[in-house]
Assembly symmetry: C2
Homo-oligomer: 371 residues x 2
């Protein structure tokens, strides 16, 4: 009887959709890569998301399909659509999240502010870009990068000669002189309704999101409006359905430039579970089902989310609960049920309150119990 | 690897523990009465909770056992304990929630304010109580009552002659002249830590909780302290582990009297999911595992929860989502995944905010979409 939502991918993003689905009485089903995935509780299929037959068998049993990640190949996505499966986001939108060259081209056409960029096919072309952009730049593989992987800072085309050989065309961008990194999340449903959460600041360490402050300090007024405009323009222009997270640079000369996009709930939006009227996970499900979107107000003036990166192997987060919970009763602890490996995101802590310094301290100190 | 919590009973209370368990990375497993229960997602066993063998088989696979309801017979509970199963709450505490005569006797001993009461074994004894208590009283069957069942207002012993015949000893209480009904929830862990949520007001219709306002209006100061004291005294005195909800009468002469107890998450605490730092469901799991308890502060000055009673058969709540969500984007809708039957609790709506009138209006109007 109830509405069935299928999620391809069994990581922590699918896992965090489970509470939202339970609250709304939705029958959530996950297509996971392996049996012990973070979303095993709701996994009804285990398989390879590149296998059209397996994915199709899963998709036929649900009312709508959405995603834990953007890696499902276009040929699989397009076959699902051809077979009448409702996909949100759809293949056309997902292509922009899968291929950074296609994304940069589209954002240029939409007039969205982005770093100087070019497609380069050879060491020589890259050297040319470097010579007109200060001698240093960022090179990215168009596909498959995440959390700092597939990204290099280069001073010579030779620095990525191996990528030209194995990957082919690359994306080169100016090395942006930025003050800080921000992120703007919005959600859009197929009817075209768009809602935005507050602009947030994300602090990266070693290319991985370490903590998020919502809203971004000193972001009232113009800067929030600009970020909101950018994200709405992208959501509409790319036809995104579901949650869209736009990672932004705030430059030292006070401009916002789009860095990356994610068409799914995103690490910079985890604070919404505890800090906003509607979490990004509930919103993603509402959008995928073309339901009216929920309010995005905040419970308290500040929310601070700190990632927990895996500590010693064989010491699951649960073994530290007595200390962390005893010291910090306001900390909301999220445990993804993943085996702890050094540097792996295994959970996060969110603290909300009316004092930013206090929320930061408590969130960081609680998270430190697990590292 | 992860911590395994077993819940006996597959109703909406077990269901609402699932999101809390997912967030904390706990492996929650439910022993349900039937396959299509509200907590089917986490059900690993289906059986009769009165069957010692079935319950024991389930309990041996988990680290701790707790409950969706208080109906597991004492002989089953005591056999579990004898077999080394960790039960929270335990049999001694649960007895007070199972037998109202035993509960009234214990509360009298603890000096907790309760209505005038007596155990009556015959029509004649009840008539005697009536003659010294204004000619009208409330009679309750000691066991098995809930949501107004097993309760009668009587003016003559003959009004419950059938119960004397079939049930035996009954509890009779003065008919309390009350201004309103309040509820005080606390949680206690086996180490003895106790935390309290704010005192709330509950509005009953036809013996069933219809809505809850947190905190209870006009409850700052003395009345909140008295309620807090009462609930802590009971939690300690009865050795409760987990959540304890104490239903209270606020009398017209400004006293608080204990009406009923529940040793589990309770309808009057559903607002905590959306309105408090720690929900009663997370707290119940923390207490059952003897983890430090979470903070019980509120996100906003007011939280209003309105129950959704089943409307027309064959019209699940999902069919009304477009209207309800479109009109009320701040409403948090909870759907228990139960078949809709007239008068059956199938879900609830919570709205939080800084204006009580507005929160009441929105919560009631959103809930009305489903009835």
């Amino acid at each position: 009887m109830s509405v069935k939502v299928g999620v391809i991918g069994g990581g922590q993003l699918a896992r965090m959709m489970i509470p939202a689905a339970v609250n709304l009485g939705l029958d959530i089903r996950v297509f996971a890569e392996n049996a012990g995935s973070p979303s095993a509780l709701a996994a009804t299929a285990v398989g390879d998301y590149r296998n059209i037959e397996d994915v199709l068998r899963f998709a036929r049993e649900v009312d709508v399909v959405t995603f834990d990640h953007e890696h499902v190949p276009q040929e699989v996505l397009r076959e699902l659509v051809a077979q009448g499966v409702a996909l949100h986001p759809g293949p056309d939108a997902l292509l922009y999240a899968q291929d950074k060259l296609v994304m940069r081209q589209k954002l240029s056409e939409l007039g969205v502010p982005i770093p100087e960029w070019a497609r380069v096919d050879s060491v020589g072309e890259l050297d040319m870009f470097l010579s007109t952009n200060g001698g240093v730049a960022v090179v990215k593989t168009p596909r498959g990068g995440y959390d700092g992987k597939g990204v290099r800072i280069v001073r010579s085309g030779e620095d990525v000669a191996d990528w030209f050989e194995h990957v082919g065309a690359l994306l080169v961008e100016e090395l942006v002189d930025f003050r800080r990194e921000l992120a703007q999340s919005v959600a859009r449903n197929p009817s075209g309704e768009i809602v935005a959460w507050p602009l947030v600041e994300s602090v990266q360490r070693d290319g991985v999101c370490a903590e998020v402050i919502a809203p971004a300090p000193h972001s009232a007024g113009k800067i929030a409006d600009v970020a909101d405009d950018i994200a709405r323009t992208i959501a509409e222009g790319l036809g995104v359905t579901g949650v869209l997270a736009v990672e932004l640079f705030e430059t030292t000369d006070a401009r916002l430039l789009v860095n990356e996009l994610a068409m799914r709930p995103h690490n910079t939006g985890h604070w919404t579970i505890d800090g906003s009227t509607t979490s990004q996970f509930e919103q993603h499900l509402r959008a995928a089902l073309d339901l009216p979107l929920g309010a995005t107000g905040v419970h308290q003036p500040w929310s601070v989310m700190v990632n927990i990166l895996g500590g010693p192997v064989g010491q699951p987060m649960e073994t530290r609960y007595v200390g962390a919970m005893g010291d910090f009763p306001t900390a909301k602890i999220h445990n993804y049920g993943k085996e702890s490996l050094p540097g792996r995101k295994v959970g996060h802590v969110t603290v909300i309150g009316d004092d930013l310094d206090d929320a930061c301290f408590v969130a960081r100190a609680a998270a430190a119990h697990f590292e």
